[in-house]
């Protein structure tokens, strides 16, 4: 019997629902019309199930982007996934928004994909992956920081680098041009719900936990420098 995966993406400005039958994408939606996820996501889910002719009870795995991302967006996605998983104790998995983003796009084998989401004031949430015959191979953990922190890693890899996500331009403008950098066109560098679904399949294969009760957002990973700065500020306030 085939495995049905339903993925919810509400980590950023866009909302999306995707359904996989085993590894095949059978439905996907993408909405970025400036509307609130709390109002759009449930109708989108209803349309998805109706269009694909699937009942919620037939879903074997719920997938959701767990962050980094918008505080409100992540909570809406988590709440929806947990609620859906509850009646039948359906397995449920949260995936890295950046890994899902990297799996939403195509880059040639042997090249690197940098997934970057804007984190304001010149910083991005980033992760880098190498495209191999076996799939994406992660080169660094999800990090918040300045794009230049990736420079050395990317130089050492000596491969073509494709940058995706809404932090792509910040990265491109702040990495030195001795790298072979390509920013994918705007409509081809967005995270999609299918990426969340594929990342969930990979995470399941890795044996990650699928208990809905343990699902929690990965909000914000402040870099070390920021933490130190905040500690210092706190210290100066109290003295």
């Amino acid at each position: 019997m085939s495995e049905m995966t339903l993925a919810v993406d509400s980590a950023g400005k866009a909302a999306g629902i995707a359904i996989l039958r085993d590894e095949a994408l059978i439905y996907e939606s993408y909405l970025d019309a400036g509307l609130t996820h709390s109002e759009t996501l449930l109708p989108m889910l209803k349309s998805a199930l109706a269009a694909a002719g699937i009942a919620p009870a037939e879903i074997n795995l719920y997938a959701v982007s767990a962050g980094p991302g918008s505080f409100t967006g992540l909570r809406i996605g988590m709440a929806l996934a947990k609620g859906l998983a509850l009646p039948n104790h359906t397995p449920c998995i949260g995936v890295s928004t950046l890994e899902a983003l990297a799996l939403s796009v195509f880059v040639p084998q042997g090249s690197i994909v940098v997934a970057a989401e804007d984190a304001r004031r010149g910083e991005v949430y980033y992760a880098a992956f190498e495209q191999t015959a076996e799939g994406l191979h992660r080169l660094c953990s999800d990090t918040a920081g300045k794009p230049c922190e990736m420079q050395e890693m990317l130089e050492n890899a000596k491969k073509s680098v494709f940058i995706v996500g809404d932090g792509a331009e910040v990265c491109y403008n702040n990495l030195e041009k001795n790298l072979t950098l390509t920013v994918l066109p705007a409509h081809l560098r967005k995270g999609r719900a299918s990426g969340v679904a594929f990342a969930a399949r990979v995470a399941c294969a890795r044996g990650e936990n699928t208990d809905a009760a343990l699902l929690a957002p990965e909000y914000l990973k402040l870099c070390q420098a920021q933490r130190e700065r905040q500690e210092k500020l706190k210290g100066s306030e109290t003295t």
Binding site: F71, T72, L220, Q230, L233
Partner: protein, 153 residues
């Protein structure tokens, strides 16, 4: 930078209504100035100008009040906010990204996390009803255009 003197709560609100014309595509306003300076009065004028129908109240306890209308207006009080995590968890960035008008009282607390450009407003108490408003980052406003009319009425 421009300095405006108002002589009543109504004049302060009128000035805010004028400023709202510059915020039709959203934007951030950072207030400085102590208690009772008239930040909430200013926000009431802003909300009117933005076509918001919900009642404006001080967000001291709620941290953020959201007023619905033609343009969404998110009204923050940063008195108890000091870290970027707090700011993030109060949905500050979500409202900015959504194209809302965002106003932050006690913005001194979060100044280091704000990204230019934004409008800075300092309100200083000159007397019982007189206020000095210093506005940076906005186009010049007419000096209290409907205050004179109010005076005549």
């Amino acid at each position: 930078m421009a300095v405006y003197i108002t002589h009543s709560k109504e004049e302060t609100m009128a000035l805010a209504r004028q400023l709202s014309k510059q915020l039709q595509n959203g934007g951030l306003i950072a207030f400085t100035g102590g208690l009772g300076a008239g930040k909430t009065a200013f926000c009431t004028g802003l909300a009117e100008g933005l076509g918001c129908t919900d009642e404006v109240q001080s967000p001291t306890f709620s941290i953020v009040n959201v007023y619905r209308g033609k343009i969404t207006f998110a009204h923050f009080d940063m008195y108890r906010i000091s870290t970027e995590e707090d700011l993030y968890a109060a949905s500050f960035y979500d409202y900015l990204d959504s194209g809302a008008v965002v106003a932050a009282e006690w913005s001194e607390n979060i100044a280091q996390f704000l990204e230019e450009p934004y409008i800075k407003i300092n309100i200083e108490v000159l007397g019982e009803n007189d206020r000095k408003l210093t506005i940076e980052g906005a186009a010049p406003l007419e000096e209290t255009p409907d205050a004179a009319q109010n005076g005549l009425a």
